[in-house]
Structures are given as structure tokens and as C-alpha cells.
């Protein structure tokens, strides 16, 4: 005899990835708009023809306020602030991205490993805690300046700051996930560990990883700006937001506000957008499974 026909009610909702993306756009238009802005900024910084050569001083023009010719004005050397600000986007954001990706690549597996193998991991985690107690910005400062201002060291420094954070986050997520009933079902089915990690653990921590990644990006942008503000890392004439703020800051008092303001604004906007995005992702993440 056959059992009863399909008979409980079914709620309908888009389950396909494309449908999910559409839902996300609908639910968080500001965050999506912001992400779009950053992408356009990077593309423009890479490919768009800038009105002036960002690295070329123009002593004839000298310092000048925003005008139709120079939208964001020019700095002391007469270089175009708009062109420099846009060009700096790629320099700053690519470094931030590289640092973030490196911390992801190391932090996530480490977090997974420490949550599976408990015995040795407790020591590692304790070590990492001690490491985090160290003023990390100073560490980054020391590292980069000792390396003789190598850019890759900026990336390494960002990773060093963020790896322990990822590790902690993943570890605590996975440890609570391990208590979940479906993980017990997984064991009862005999799912091997690698598959468990790939199919059951990762997808369930993915949302939180993504949310954290956007935060890390924001944090990295600030670190890079701070370093170059202190004259470390990206060195002039290569444009970077931090060094532009630094060189413009002395002009602030004399009334030439535009040199520092525009790059400062861009740092602010990028950080704000990434924070919005992070919130949006966490929100979407909790909603889609209920």
C-alpha cells in the first residue's frame, strides 16, 4: 500500500543562487549600491583615462582649489588631487584585498583545524590570544619599516593582524555547529571528515566568513592608510590615501582643505560601505535558512 500523498503545505521561496542574489539586492539596496561603487572605483582606477598623470608634479599650476579644470584641486606640487585620489584607490584597495585574502587563506583552515583537533589546538589558541594582546599596529609598523618599506610586507602585516581573528571566529562557530543535531546525523551516516567539513561545516560558516571578510577589508584599508600616513608602506610619489592625507594635513591650517579632505572622504566612504555590506550579509544569512 502506498502512503499518503504529498500533503503538508509548502511555502515557496526562491532557492536558486540567482534568486538568492535577487532577494539580497531587494533586501539591501544600499549595501549592494555601495559594493557597486567600490567595484566601479577599482575599475576606474585601473582602466579609466584620468584627466592628469597622478604622479606628475606641475609646478606651473602650484597649489589651487577645486575648479572646473581640477575637480578636487591640486596639491603643493601642482599634481591633480582627483587623479591621485582615483589612482590611489587601486593601490590601497588591492593591498587591502591581498592582505584580506592572505588572512582568509591561512586563518580559515587554521580555524577549521583547531576546531576539529582539540588537543593541540588549545595551546595554539592560547598562543594566538597572547599574540593578539600585542599592539598589532605597532607590530605592522615595525615589520614594514624593518623590511625596508617593502609593499608585500604591508600585506603580511595585515594578514598577521587578521589571522587570529579568523581563527577564533571560525573555531567558535564550528564548535557551536558541532553541537547541532544535523552534525550528529552526519556522524551517524558515517560521513568522512573531509566531506563533513566541505559539505556541512563550510557552507554553514560561509556567511559569517563573508561578513567578517568585508570587515577585514575595511580594517585593512584603515591600517594601510595609517601606515602610509606615518610615511611607511606606500611611499610618494605613488599615490595612496594615507600619504595624501599626510601631505595635505599641514595645509589644512592654512586653509587648503581639499588636499587631505578628498582622500579622507574616500577612506571613510569605503569603510562605511564595507561595514554596511557586512551587516547586510549577516542579516541575509540568518534570514535565508529560516
Amino acid at each position: 500500500m502506498a502512503t499518503s500523498p504529498p500533503n503538508d503545505s509548502e511555502r515557496t521561496k526562491a532557492a536558486k543562487p540567482t534568486g538568492q542574489f535577487r532577494d539580497f539586492v531587494q533586501m539591501h539596496p544600499i549595501a549592494v549600491g555601495g559594493a557597486f561603487f567600490i567595484v566601479v572605483l577599482i575599475l576606474a582606477s585601473l582602466f579609466a583615462p584620468l584627466p592628469y598623470d597622478p604622479e606628475l608634479p606641475n609646478p606651473e599650476v602650484g597649489i589651487s582649489p577645486p575648479s572646473a579644470d581640477h575637480w578636487f584641486g591640486t596639491d603643493i606640487t601642482g599634481a591633480d588631487v582627483f587623479s591621485r585620489t582615483i589612482a590611489a584607490a587601486w593601490v590601497d584597495l588591492s593591498l587591502a584585498l591581498a592582505g584580506t585574502l592572505l588572512s582568509l587563506a591561512i586563518g580559515v583552515p587554521l580555524g577549521l583545524a583547531t576546531s576539529v583537533k582539540r588537543r593541540w589546538s588549545d595551546n595554539l589558541v592560547r598562543g594566538m590570544d597572547a599574540f593578539q594582546a600585542f599592539p598589532l599596529l605597532i607590530l605592522a609598523l615595525v615589520l614594514v619599516s624593518l623590511s625596508g618599506n617593502k609593499l608585500y610586507m604591508v600585506v603580511v602585516a595585515i594578514a598577521l593582524i587578521n589571522i587570529p581573528r579568523y581563527m577564533r571566529l571560525i573555531r567558535s562557530e564550528v564548535l557551536s555547529l558541532r553541537e547541532a543535531r544535523f552534525m550528529e546525523a552526519t556522524t551517524a551516516m558515517g560521513v568522512p571528515l573531509p566531506r563533513t567539513l566541505r559539505k556541512h561545516v563550510l557552507p554553514n560558516v560561509m556567511g559569517i566568513i563573508t561578513a567578517q571578510t568585508t570587515l577585514t577589508m575595511a580594517n585593512a584599508i584603515v591600517v594601510i592608510a595609517t601606515l602610509s600616513f606615518l610615511g611607511i608602506g606606500v611611499a610618494p610619489p605613488t599615490p595612496s590615501w594615507g600619504s595624501m592625507i599626510r601631505s595635505g594635513s599641514s595645509n589644512m591650517i592654512s586653509g587648503e582643505w581639499w588636499i587631505a579632505l578628498f582622500p579622507g572622504l574616500f577612506v571613510l566612504i569605503c569603510v562605511w560601505i564595507l561595514n554596511q555590506l557586512s551587516d547586510a550579509i549577516s542579516d541575509f544569512n540568518t534570514r535565508t535558512t529560516r
Binding site: S4, N7, D8, S9
Partner: protein
Amino acid sequence: MTQTLLSVRDLSVEFVGHKSTVHAVNGVNLRVNAGEIVGIVGESGCGKSTAVKGILGLLQPPGQVTGGEAELAGHGDLLAMKNKQLRRVRGASVGYVAQNPFGSLNPIYSIEVQFRNILRAHGEPASQKIARERARTMLANVGIAGPDRVLDGYAHQLSGGMAQRVVIAMAMLLEPELIIADEPTTGLDVTVQRQILDLIRDRVVDSTRGILLVTHDLGVIAQYCHRVVVMYAGKVVEAGSVETVFGDPAHPYTSALLGAIPRPGHELTRLRGSVPDLRVIPTECSFKPRCDYEFAACSVSPNLREIAPDHLVACHLSERVGHGTS
């Protein structure tokens, strides 16, 4: 003559969302007499808790009462009361036991302090000693062996059964005429469940008090209630004395529920489908899609009618001669 303690007429509750509105309770009528335990049964999501919270003015937005009245003997319409007045009635004249006992206990105060707060809130300025004494008596009444240990403790130190008893003791502290208990025993062991129900029953039998008991356990209704109200999709579909409704159910939903109780040697009734979407107001009988007896008349929503003294049914079948679903 039996005195009516609570009389609810045409109660409606909606949850207004920006995309859709959930019509959780649609014109519910019920009555609790003195000395009576009245049970409300129905599947999950049919609006039992919402109705009860509506009566007590405890709905959280977006939930709102959109119509009806709830007359409490000697106090007037609860739904028309101002918040301040309602707060005084709640506790003093109507005790409420919520679905989740831990939700109604404050984790940061000791149990004693919570008892004292109830007394204070209702203007019974008892000394600390008297307050403790009253709380102790109440806890002993609900069968807690070491009331002192419980009074000095905190919510998280209690087992589910203990917490439930504490909440019931709190609801009974001011000796209200009416107690409304929302699934007071769901999730508890049968042994504990019976203790609690016995205790609730002892408060009512041969008294002027009454109890409105929400449950989805038909055994609880059969053994403890005098009258029963069967709810389906936010409406009352059948109401009457327990003997009548269980012995000779007139609504196909009631029959189906009774048939779904596992009994050795009996086939289980398979109720098709599930509760309807409460976002749309149906024009037809809301049970029609799942009903084995539906016929032409069922495309119009039936009204609750009295088919025998104190036996109300909302089903077109009962209008036909020789009604019956068995």
C-alpha cells in the same frame, strides 16, 4: 444558576505586516463559568495563544485586537480597558500562565523577589516576612517540597516541571477568579503533567473560580475539562461539553483529531493537508480543502450554530437532517 466569569464575543486579532496581514483570530466566541475548566484545542498555529493574549491585552506589535469584547464578571470589557486598569486586573483577577515558563521568570532576580514584586505591583504592601510566608504557602500548595530552597534560588536552577509550578503559584498568588493557562504542561513528563493538572483542578472544583486551559493534548481535555472549544484556522469550529464533543463530534475536524489518536488495533485517521494560510480570508469553509464530507454548501463559510443545548458547531453538515460524521 451558573455564573459566567468570562465571556468573549467576536474576538479578532491581526498581525499587520507591510506585505500581508495574518488574520490569526477571526471572531472567536467563548465562555467560562464559575467552577469550570474550559479547554481550547487545535493544531499548532490555529490561534490559541494569540486569542488568549488578545483577551489579556498582552499582544506585542504587530499583533492587535481588531474587534470584539471580553467581559470579565465584575470588571467589564477587558478589551476596552486602559493599560493601567488592565494591569491591575491581570494578576489580581485573572492569572496568566504563559506557554514557556522560563519566559515569564526573570533570570536575574531570586524567586522570592519576584513573588514580592507581584504583591507590591498590586498594592499589597506586605512586610518581607509576610510576603515570604505567602509565597511559601503558595509553593507548598503547588506541591513543591522544599519551598525555601526554591525561593532563595533563581530560575535557571529549576527543572522544567518546577519552573512551571512556580509560575502557576505566581499566577495563583493573589487568588484570581480566573486563571488562563497556555499549555501549562506541554513538554513535561506525564507524571509531572498530572500533578500540575490535579493542582489546577483542585483550585476550581466547587469554587467560584474558573480556568481557561489551552492545550493540544486531547487526553488533558478529556480528563480535566468540563467544556471544550475546538479551534481551527483562527475560528471556533465546535464547542460544548466534553462528553458531547468527544462522544458525538459534529465537526469533521473534531472527528479527524479524535481519530488521529494512536490506539492499538485501530487505523489512524489521516487528516490530509495542513492548516491554511491565515493571510487570506477564505470565503469558503476554511476546513473544506481537508474535509472528507464537503459538499456544495461548503463554498460559503459556515457560522457557529447551536445544534443542541450548549453544543455549537460551524459546519454546513450539521444543517442537514441526520447530521453526523461518524
